[in-house]
């Protein structure tokens, strides 16, 4: 079943076409169809998980077909330990988001079609091993996202969508340039990421630009890094994120935070780390500093937010900082922690966004403190106990409470980064983020859920079964991985060990 | 599939032998009908009649096609022209009173200059050229014509359309679609 990745990638596309062919007015049919077509990749993902050989650090389920032979472009897909957690996460979140979007009743067909298209792009990005193919999927993803935010978003949706689109496109352009340059300067010309990684073709060469001779690998590294940094987002390229998250509909926020952000870090690991290890080593201090800035800056900004969703958005910025820190540490625990954090942040932040969405569906606003200074909610823990229960799980997972998944990855990141003598100072500074993280989340929790009941929300409806259905799997994952993270760690550790050998030679 | 049209016709053509006189008569009559009807089309002041005679002219051409071994074309000619174009024109005329009543007769002056141009200049030259051409063309050997006649034309046309002529064929389909959509859009009510 070597075509499983292709299947997973394109079944949602088939779903999209099917949905477009469905009759216009039967919204429920569209919803069910979309669920089915996201459930299939999920089932395949489970199969994938079962059959993934954790001991093998190399690529698995590889499929390699010539695509455009003249330029040596291949349809080359496969997964290793870096990508398999992401593929699983994508399949899971896509399915849950389809269910979570049940309440959307404006342009249902278009919405789901776009959504499925998005899933194709996402899974494709994680599976692609040809730079060209990767880039194609990367751009494919952009378009449905643009429409999903721009059409089904909130008040400032158009601004947010355009901002997201242009910003990301800017990154893509850099990536494209680097891609082409890599193709040109590799011998033989290739887009194949694995081949490029084996070649070490760019070390010691120089590229003359405007009369300056610039070390080629460092130039490429910076170009790629900015491209991915925008997606992560790494400070100071993060400002699209609050806008996009706040304006996007719930499910899209989930995907945005749960999957799209990870593409940036995944890309850095897949491209910068594998292909340009020397330049990565050269830039590691810089990355670490950015990571620390992300952690603290994001947390501080989150503390000042009055909009619940914006708070969660900035918390994503902060949490992605841990990923960068872990990656930059070059230690077993650090990089494992970073990839695990990618997965765990995907689940916990998805829960947060889903929960915020649930609240927004009921109350039609998300203010912690209303712009006029009055409190937005308050004391709703007594009216919606079940909801509060889920929120507590998500919240504590997010702030890194031991026993829930967020802790494991954060702790691994810190342990790992601290074991590298170069970065100990940064770790100490970065650890402030742990305190701040608890601060803004608990403060939010206090203002929204606790205290005297705001009578306006005395009759808030508690969770429906559909909403519970979307949250229960995530909650289970969060708890199980908090107690015993090996099921996910196992997947990646051998691949990461192999990746790290690159840096020991330096 | 070795047959084409009534055995007698391609027997005659296929063998290269003399065609039965009766059949030749039919062909001649068709040619005459074509031309006479065309003359009416050109000259009849009533546009409705002109259209009807156009129909006969088309039928005459169809018969000529049959005799030239193009039976599929003859069918297409009838379907498209008789069943399509003529009906379309008739519809246009009948549905819109003004078209019928607009009896814009060709005045003498209006007709004179074209007459001079066509009959005086273009006509003689073309006829002369045609005659010269038809003499100069070395006709295909009859046996080859026979072979050709014996071929299954429909199949050949089909193969040609999906083979050598695929691009023009597709172009035509797009043109047709475009033309029809355009026509509908043009003729839409205000």
């Amino acid at each position: 079943m070597s075509c499983i990745l292709t299947l997973m990638t394109f079944i949602p596309l088939v779903g999209m076409i099917t949905i477009l062919a469905l009759p216009k007015n039967n919204d429920n049919l569209v919803r069910w169809t979309a669920s089915v077509f996201t459930a299939i990749p999920l089932a395949l993902a489970v199969w994938l998980y079962m059959n993934f050989d954790t001991a093998n650090p190399g690529l698995q389920f590889v499929q390699q077909v010539d695509w455009i032979k003249a330029y040596n472009i291949q349809y080359y897909v496969g997964i290793d330990g870096l990508s398999v957690p992401m593929v699983l996460l994508t399949a899971l979140l896509s399915f849950l988001c389809v269910v979570a979007s049940w309440g959307i009743d404006k342009g249902v067909k278009g919405y789901y079609a776009m959504f499925l298209f998005l899933e194709t792009g996402m899974i494709g990005v994680f599976c692609a091993l040809d730079f060209f193919l990767f880039f194609v999927y990367w751009e494919i993803m952009l378009l449905p996202m643009y429409f999903l935010i721009g059409i089904w978003g909130g008040k400032n949706k158009v601004y947010a969508a355009i901002k997201f689109f242009l910003y990301t496109l800017f990154g893509s352009v850099l990536m494209l340039l680097v891609m082409l340059a890599m193709y040109i300067y590799s011998e033989p010309h290739t887009f194949n990421l694995i081949e490029l990684a084996k070649m070490h073709a760019f070390v010691g060469k120089e590229l003359v630009l405007f009369g300056w001779a610039i070390p080629m690998d460092k130039l490429f590294w910076v170009g790629l890094f900015i491209g991915f940094a925008i997606k992560v987002p790494i400070w100071p390229f993060h400002t699209w994120l609050p806008w996009a998250h706040v304006e996007a509909p719930t499910a899209v926020s989930v995907i945005l935070a749960g999957v799209l952000l990870k593409m940036g870090t995944y890309g850095i690991l897949r491209m910068n780390y594998s292909i340009l290890p020397d330049a990565t080593m050269w830039a590691s201090n810089f990355m670490m500093i950015l990571g620390v800035i992300n952690v603290i800056y994001g947390a501080c900004c989150a503390m000042a937010q009055k909009d619940l969703k914006k708070l969660v958005a900035y918390s994503s910025v902060s949490h992605m900082g841990y990923v960068i820190m872990g990656m930059a540490s070059f230690t077993t625990a650090g990089v494992n922690g970073a990839v695990l954090q990618m997965f765990n942040h995907g689940t916990s932040t998805a829960m947060m966004f889903l929960l915020v969405g649930v609240l927004y569906d009921r109350a039609h606003h998300r203010w912690i403190v209303k712009p006029d200074g009055s409190r937005g909610f308050g004391g709703i823990a007594s009216t919606v106990p079940v909801y509060t229960g889920y929120m507590v799980i998500a919240l504590f997972a997010s702030l890194g409470l031991p026993g829930l998944s967020g802790f494991i990855s954060e702790a691994l990141v810190f342990l790992g980064a601290f074991s590298n003598p170069r970065f100990q100072v940064y770790v100490v500074i970065g650890s402030i983020g742990i305190v701040l993280g608890a601060g803004y989340l608990l403060w939010m929790f206090m203002r929204v859920f606790l205290g005297p009941l705001n009578e306006e929300y005395a009759n808030l409806e508690d969770m429906t079964w559909r909403e519970k259905f979307t949250l229960i799997p995530l909650a289970i994952l969060v708890i199980v991985l908090g107690v015993y993270p090996m099921p996910v760690l196992n997947l990646m550790s051998s691949t990461i060990a192999q990746l790290l050998t690159l840096f020991n030679k330096v | 599939m070795d047959v084409d049209f009534p055995r007698e016709i391609h027997d005659a053509i296929g063998d290269g032998a003399i065609m039965e006189n009766g059949m030749k008569l039919v062909l001649l009559l068709a040619q005459v009908m074509t031309l006479v009807s065309a003359l009416v089309v050109v000259l009849h002041p009533n546009i409705l009649y002109a259209t009807i005679f156009l129909l006969f002219s088309f039928l005459g051409v169809a018969v000529m096609f049959v005799f030239a071994g193009a039976d599929f074309l003859a069918g297409a000619q009838v379907i498209v022209y008789v069943g399509g174009v003529t009906i379309l024109v008739l519809f246009a005329i009948m549905l819109t009173q003004w078209l019928y009543e607009a009896k814009l007769k060709t005045t003498l002056m209006k007709g004179l200059i074209p007459f001079i141009v066509v009959m005086g200049a273009l006509g003689p030259i073309l006829i002369k050229e045609t005659l010269k051409l038809s003499d100069s063309v070395s006709a295909t050997p009859p046996e080859k014509m026979g072979e050709f006649a014996a071929l299954a034309k429909t199949q050949l046309i089909g193969q040609a359309l999906l083979g050598n002529y695929l691009l023009p064929f597709e172009a035509i389909t797009i043109l047709l679609l475009g033309a029809l959509v355009g026509a509908v859009w043009l003729a839409r009510p205000e």
Binding site: - | L54, F65, V118, K144
Partner: protein, 107 residues
């Protein structure tokens, strides 16, 4: 050569085609009614078709001529539809179908 034999010859086809063409041209030039012009154009297209078919049989003994005639027929159909739509439009604009009135492009 008697007239019946002549009727089956290439020349007969070509002459009929030419005459049809000339008649069509004459209709196009002299008709004031735009529908009349349309009819003339159909005659011209038919004339072309006859020539194609004739050469297909007598000169080439190949199918290509017929294929082209098929194309001609199809284009004629499209042309008729568009032309009639244009005439309708023209009438709405000018309240007449006199071809001479279609002179917005003058000077």
């Amino acid at each position: 050569m008697n007239i019946l034999d002549w009727a089956t010859s290439l020349q007969a086809y070509l002459v009929v085609g030419t005459c049809l063409f000339l008649l069509g041209v004459f209709a196009v030039l002299s008709r004031r009614n735009t529908i009349g012009i349309l009819l003339g154009i159909e005659l011209i297209l038919n004339a072309a078709g006859i020539n194609f078919v004739a050469f297909s049989k007598f000169r080439a003994a190949a199918i290509d001529g017929q294929v082209f005639t098929l194309f001609v027929i199809l284009i004629a159909a499209a042309e008729a539809a568009v032309a009639l739509a244009v005439i309708l439009r023209f009438y709405r604009l000018k309240e007449t179908i006199n071809a001479d009135e279609a002179n917005i492009l003058r000077n």
